[in-house]
Amino acid sequence: MKIIKRTGWFAGVILVIAGLLCAPSAWAAENGKLRLGIVTFLSGPASGPFGVPAENAAKLTIAALNAGKMPAPYAMKGINGVEIETVVVDEAGGATKQVEEFRNLVERQKVDAVIGYISSGDCLAVAPVAEELKALTVFFDCGTPRIFEDASYKYVFRTGPIATTDNIGAARYILDTSPNTKSFAGINQNYAWGQDSWNDFKAAMQVLLPQAQVKTEQFPKLGAGQYGAELSAILVENPDIVHSSFWGGDMEALVLQGAARGLFDKRSVVLTCGETGMFRLAEQMPEGAIIGGRGPYGVFAPDNPLNAWFRKEYQAAYNTPPTYPSYKIVQAILGLKNAAEKAGSAPGKLPDTDAIIAKFRDRASRHRADWWRWASARPIRRCRASPMAPSIARARTRHRRSSTSGVIRRNA
């Protein structure tokens, strides 16, 4: 009998736990607000350069939207007059984990839409799940060309350009500024992003500057932090141009160690993600480094009232100018807002998901958000002594004129 009593006690505990587990779904009751899931790196190496700037910008933008303080044409409160509430989730932990958390976000937390995902692996894994759950999902950053190119989705959107354009843009910039380039080398992180970036850059260079030779291609591990051997290999080969798609702490380490080893003395270094570190590394960034901002974002964004407002507010709130991840997430939020508001519901009511999707797709081909106007984009440029100096704005630039742009894109 003792056993039965104890089993009963045990079963009781399990029931209580089960009850607790089911409780959160009840909290997410209808409260008349739009529940928006925001997924971005809050921890790990990608949080500093990407995740946190993006999250900060999202917080700032949503607060401004809820207060109805955004400049026109985004002055309507929230999204179509509906207040936005957010559920923020950390993107760290890998694709498997993110699929799990995406399901929790949609099914347990009952969000109306999800904006997020910086890592390409996460985007690839999450897209089919979003489709299965019929959850409107907007990717704001991931740069892999394998999401909409390998499959087609109804509920999934991406509001930023793919990485291919960054690297073709970089090659074109080199063609314009140093057409006599004889050789180039690459140092990229050994994972999909680094490999794709280098392959795109190499292919573009071989077409644009066929005389330039590849000297060495280095692929240190992601997060290695020590590049002594790789730097030696590059210095021995002595190329004219060094290409790198490093970001975050790795880029910082490369800049520090490269400067100490004379990497930047006789050659140009192309940092396709350099823009994320340009304020943090303002002192260390070598003279003449060519940096990219993954599209017309950050300092490359055109001068207009919306941008001026955003820069001012962001600087005031976080004491640093916004970088490209900040811009990209705002673009995703405003893209969603624009589509929802064009979907034809009376203000104060949320249109249904299908109507938003129809408009979103429509925007994809026609909509141009004001500040991303392509004609004035300057995604790659050469860095002078201090990237903050006003002279920078006059640096010669060559923008990527090819197709993709800051347009809201789908099925690219």
Binding site: S43, G44, P45, G48, N190, T216, E217, Q218, F219, P220, K221, G223, A224, G225, Q226, G228, A229, E230, S232, A233, L235, V236, N238, G248, G249, D250, E252, A253, L256, Q257, A260, R261, G262
Partner: protein, 165 residues
């Protein structure tokens, strides 16, 4: 930091030479402390046979604590001398764990000379791979480690444990 020097066609940061010097001094000190002092020898006894050491009246717990403290201090010094050249982040130590274990396993447990040899093997095999065959850089250390263990299951300087029936 401390300027640079030219070695052949390559430029090196003098700071890196400083780090090598510091590592050599500490390694020498550790070796001397372990093998040439009374406390060091007691520590080795504890490592080799805990039960026997207790029977001989050595305070094993105190020696474990001491070992742990020394190990932590060494780790701290390594982090401190590396920090100026890299970007410091909370997850910085994770990758080092695996490298450290690989070094220890290659060199053999409990041998300062083995740790030196292991570290040099790990460093040089990586550098060689980076220069000659960058594709295998990611796992060359593990490949070398497997090879060493196939030939010498206890590592290069490790001693086989005594048979205890």
């Amino acid at each position: 930091m401390l300027g640079r020097s030219q070695v052949g066609p390559l430029t090196f940061s003098n700071y890196d030479f400083g780090v090598i010097l510091i590592a050599a001094l500490i390694g020498l000190g550790l070796w001397w402390g372990l093998n040439r002092t009374r406390r060091g020898k007691l520590l080795l006894a504890v490592i080799h046979d805990r039960e026997m050491s207790v029977a001989l009246g050595i305070d094993v717990r105190a020696y474990f604590l001491l070992t742990f403290i020394i190990g932590s201090v060494l780790g701290c010094i390594a982090g401190a001398v590396t920090a100026p050249a890299i970007s410091v982040a909370p997850g910085i130590g994770v990758e080092v764990i695996v490298l450290a274990f690989a070094v220890v396993v290659i060199g053999g447990l409990g041998s300062v000379g083995g740790a030196l040899a292991g570290a040099l093997i790990v460093g040089f095999s990586r550098a060689t791979a980076v220069h000659l065959l960058p594709q295998v850089e990611l796992f060359v250390i593990f490949g070398v480690m497997s090879l060493v263990l196939v030939v010498r299951p206890q590592g290069l300087f490790g001693r086989a444990p005594p048979r205890k029936i």
